[in-house]
Symmetry: C2
């Protein structure tokens, strides 16, 4: 069997060029006589890999000098604890709950202090993003937390909340590097890389330097302290070297495409193919509110669970994989990350059109 169109929400499709390069160097990376998986994290070869990766993501995202770029482990889930442990000084934080991931982060934060849910869209099964202009933030909150793109519900913040001098912390896992953002709008930007950037097992955290502080919760594990990681340039202990290497290859691939402006344009084009089809379809319906549709994750349903299951099953015969929706929404979900080619989205829409003709 050849390569399939893999619509998995994460871990997810990677650029074929990146896989081919990783494959080529598997036994001998760049003349070192060893795989990247085998080399000391203190070696010159690995220093070049991680330093180049940091330089390239700084370049791609135009990260200001007063932000640290940390390559960490444990995924977004570990940051759900690391963030309150590192940032809560008044013991207060405001959470906007717009889906499963921000809800989990909110729950975890309550272990460490007075986390308050300041807005939620759970009343409509998280199909929309709360109106950020209607929120009153706690003046003494240590930070305001959002998940900027909710993978399961397919929503993205149409605008960021204005939090004034309170640092904004954003989980960008499922939209990481999919479009330009202004890093200066945030205190912390972080994401697991396994959706848009690389293999599972790496989380990248971009942390403003005033938030890298010694006065953390005293029970914070040393490895989870931003000070530890910032001082050691992510090398305080052995980092997930292979994952960082693959992320670096993806950064090069993005630069080769023309950077995040070019990537955004490609992503908008791809998403338009799918949303335009959904908007005229009599069988399929997108579940996210049109005001806050994600460019990356597109959940849709027929309204008939049996028909949904048939669609998922028949899609496989057309090389369309991992299209089943999350159980919280049902139906289907097409995750059309950076590495999903336009031809994949077109193949999906062609099959949807055929399925609609066959079942109307």
């Amino acid at each position: 069997m050849g390569r399939v169109y893999n619509f998995s929400a994460g871990p997810a499709v990677l650029p074929e060029e990146v896989l081919r390069e990783a494959q080529a160097g598997m036994l001998d990376y760049n003349g070192t006589g060893m795989s990247v998986m085998e080399m000391s994290h203190r070696s010159a070869a690995f220093a070049d890999i991680i330093e180049t990766a940091e330089r390239d993501i700084r370049d791609l995202m135009q990260i200001p000098d007063n932000y640290h770029v940390l390559f960490l482990q444990g995924g977004a889930t570990q940051q759900f604890a690391a963030i309150p442990m590192n940032l809560m000084r008044n013991g207060k934080a405001d959470y906007i709950v717009s889906g499963s991931w921000s809800k989990k982060a909110f729950k975890e934060a309550k272990l460490y202090g007075d986390a308050r849910c300041v807005a939620s869209s759970e009343d409509e099964n998280f199909s929309y993003v709360p109106d950020v202009d209607a929120i009153e933030f706690s003046p003494d909150a240590d930070y305001v937390y959002i998940c900027q793109n909710e993978t399961i519900y397919g929503t993205k913040y149409p605008k960021l909340p204005d939090t004034g001098s309170i640092p904004l912390v954003s989980d960008v896992s499922s939209m990481f590097l999919s479009e330009p953002i202004d890093v200066a709008d945030y205190g912390v930007i972080y994401g697991g890389v396994q959706k848009n950037v690389g293999p599972a097992g790496v989380v990248i955290a971009i942390v403003r330097d005033d938030l890298v502080r010694e006065d953390v919760n005293p029970l914070t594990p040393t490895i989870m302290r931003y000070t530890t990681q910032a001082e050691a340039k992510s090398l305080s202990n052995t980092p997930p070297c292979w994952g960082i290497y693959v992320c670096g290859l993806v950064f090069k691939w993005l630069k080769g495409l023309g950077g995040l402006d070019a990537m955004k344009k490609i992503n908008e084009d791809k998403a338009a193919i799918l949303y335009d089809f959904l908007d005229q379809s009599k069988l399929f319906e997108g579940t996210a509110d049109a005001s806050c549709r994600s460019l990356m994750n597109v959940p849709f349903v027929t309204g008939d669970a049996d028909l949904d299951a048939l669609f998922v099953s028949e899609a496989k015969d057309h090389g369309i994989q991992s299209i089943k929706g999350h159980r919280s929404v049902g139906g289907m979900r097409a995750s059309i990350y950076n590495a999903m080619p336009k031809a994949g989205v077109q193949a999906l829409v062609d099959f949807m059109a055929q399925f609609e003709r066959d079942h109307s």
Copy 2:
């Protein structure tokens, strides 16, 4: 350049057969049409990978049914915090400090309770393992902690401490799967895999079921609770899928060699080549006490720092890489893990003999 003999202490050499298999499936694992790096951790294909890996390590180590096998992130360093957070109930633990890693673990444990150093070999720069029969353990200790093989100093416990009913916790990172051990002697066995088992970014913890308990330190991050990971079979969040896959390939490779009895025999043969040479050499000297020599990490010196540096530099011309010793010991260190072929150890000893002739 071809493959080199890579004596790195970790990340370290992997079996060439394993690398070739990982390379072959890079764009299409087992007919799935995608890389293991791209597949959902909830997919049937990945379920098969992680379940097979667990079965194979249980088989190799003969792990009793009342132990959980957890595939985690954050390396041994994260376990330095996870262990006291999960296991301290009386708030007390006894640590034997026989090198840098047990010393770091001890320091971290003090964040969470009354950790006591019950024996140390720091007086002789950790060149030996304290006599475990001379130690009086605290009767109310929640556990006794050891690092069974200290990577930097090249020591291994010649026998385990008898801790009675107190659970023994052992960091086996640098001797993982290098020889059979009796799992029933331990409460927790854990190790980062990047020395003997796989690529950096996975830690395997083998935890007796009575130590997987709800009454942990209340500030323990959810992801670090053994209950979370045991209940979810290591899939509570996205695991480091690629690393687990490569570990699974290494397990198959070990089974193909004949399991851990056969591996131990091979490792003893390899280590003997190097130790026998050191014992007769007039130039080189092993730094670890003969009573507790590691089969895996062999530090040695000439006694002349300039000559050591020359050795390290000239070794590269003979395809001998990453042989420089850790700064705490100086000189050289040959890490001769499972995947280091006998020919590599022979090449090292041949070069040492030549170097000795040239410099005597």
